[in-house]
């Protein structure tokens, strides 16, 4: 069994955003006074750990410790500066030649899970997602105007071997719909 501060730690880590103290009390099924004690204990145990608890009047959040700021900056810079690599390049290509592809369609065409690549491409401003009007849980991806600019083209039709590769990608993605409905 987890101690209350450990449970709180796990909860905040998984949430990734500020949680209200009220919510915490409800999720951990403890009293507000106990939340206070747990917060105090967690703050103490995170001392010098590289990660810290940020507490406002009503909410709490986990963040990297202020001392880690230069390191986090270095991480972000390295994330943005490195080559896209095979996985992200493939993912971007599928989206470029088939605008509006969903994650499961990209996965299907590539044969591997593409979540990490999609994340990278979003972070680097090369693609953007929008809700499928027919299915709100499904996100459809397309290239950003900046990405088109970098590629030196105005639209997807200007991509090399556009007709041929678009048709092939379309055919491959359609198989996903079939496989999915089976």
């Amino acid at each position: 069994m987890l101690t209350p501060p450990a449970a709180l730690h796990a909860l905040l880590f998984a949430a990734g955003e500020p949680l209200s103290k009220q919510e915490i009390a409800k999720l951990l099924d403890i009293k507000p006074a106990e939340v206070k004690t747990a917060l105090k204990a967690l703050t103490a145990s995170l001392e010098g750990s590289g990660v810290a608890l940020i507490e406002t009047e009503h909410a709490v959040e986990l963040r990297t410790a202020p001392e880690a700021a230069p390191l986090v900056k270095k991480l972000r810079e390295s994330e943005l500066a490195r080559d896209l690599g095979k996985a992200s390049l493939e993912t971007l290509a599928v989206i470029a030649y088939r605008t509006g592809s969903s994650r499961s369609e990209i996965d299907w065409v590539r044969g591997v899970n593409s979540s990490a690549s999609i994340r990278t491409l979003l972070l680097r401003g090369l693609i953007e997602g929008s809700e499928d009007p027919n299915d709100k849980r499904r996100i459809r991806y397309s290239l950003t105007t900046e990405a088109f600019g970098h590629l030196g083209i105005k639209s997807a039709e200007d991509l090399p071997r556009a007709d041929e590769l678009m048709a092939m990608t379309q055919a491959a993605a359609e198989q996903e719909a079939v496989a999915d409905s089976e």
Binding site: A14, K86, G111, L151, L165
Partner: protein
Amino acid sequence: MDAHRPRTGFSIKTDSYEGPFELLLDLIEERKLLVNDLALTAITEEFIQHVRSQEAFPMEEAANFIQVAATLLLIKSKSLIPDLELTDEEDADVEDLKRRLLAYEKVREASRELARIYGKRVMVSAGERPAEPMFAPSRDLSAPALAEALARLLAAREEVEKLPEAKVKPMVTIEEMMDRLASRVQSAMTLTFKEFAGGTKEKVEVIVSFLALLELVKQGAVAAEQYEPHGDIRISHTDTSAVPKYG
């Protein structure tokens, strides 16, 4: 399926087997046996019944099952006819099957262990913080690079999809062999195993023939006799009033 095996009392859900090892191990475990020659001999018949009952096997799977059936037959025939000499290749097949089965037994144990814990206590990654996207292209990003990445990917897909077709080759079924053997026994009354299996070059076919023969012997439809250790096997109709005995 039970109707096919009234004597055993085992009920096996035949259509749920993806591969031959799974079926083999289930048959062995139901009898509470260990993986060894004795166990394999004991389950040969039922294994073969299973293969025979599967009309609608995809070809590649059928090949896997028939290959294993053939090796089981080798083990069984060696136990029935101790003088039977196996070729080096056949010996290797027998050893390989036993090794693989022992290894698969462990893999199955391992997969049961994983099934026990999978999804029970999921450790999740840090909650997604929506980061502010910052436009950051890379040196390896260009329109030709995209086209090339996609073309390579699609070509690799196509290759994978074509693969199973190429592997498929026509394969005799055990039923076909049984029919052929039965009719030839009835017309010729006596023939040797070499005559019977002669003309078929595929090893699997020869062995399937042998399997069919053993089945007929067991059912009492034919008699098989071997007069010297390495001699040929004589097959004859069991209706002794119609057929004079040789010897």
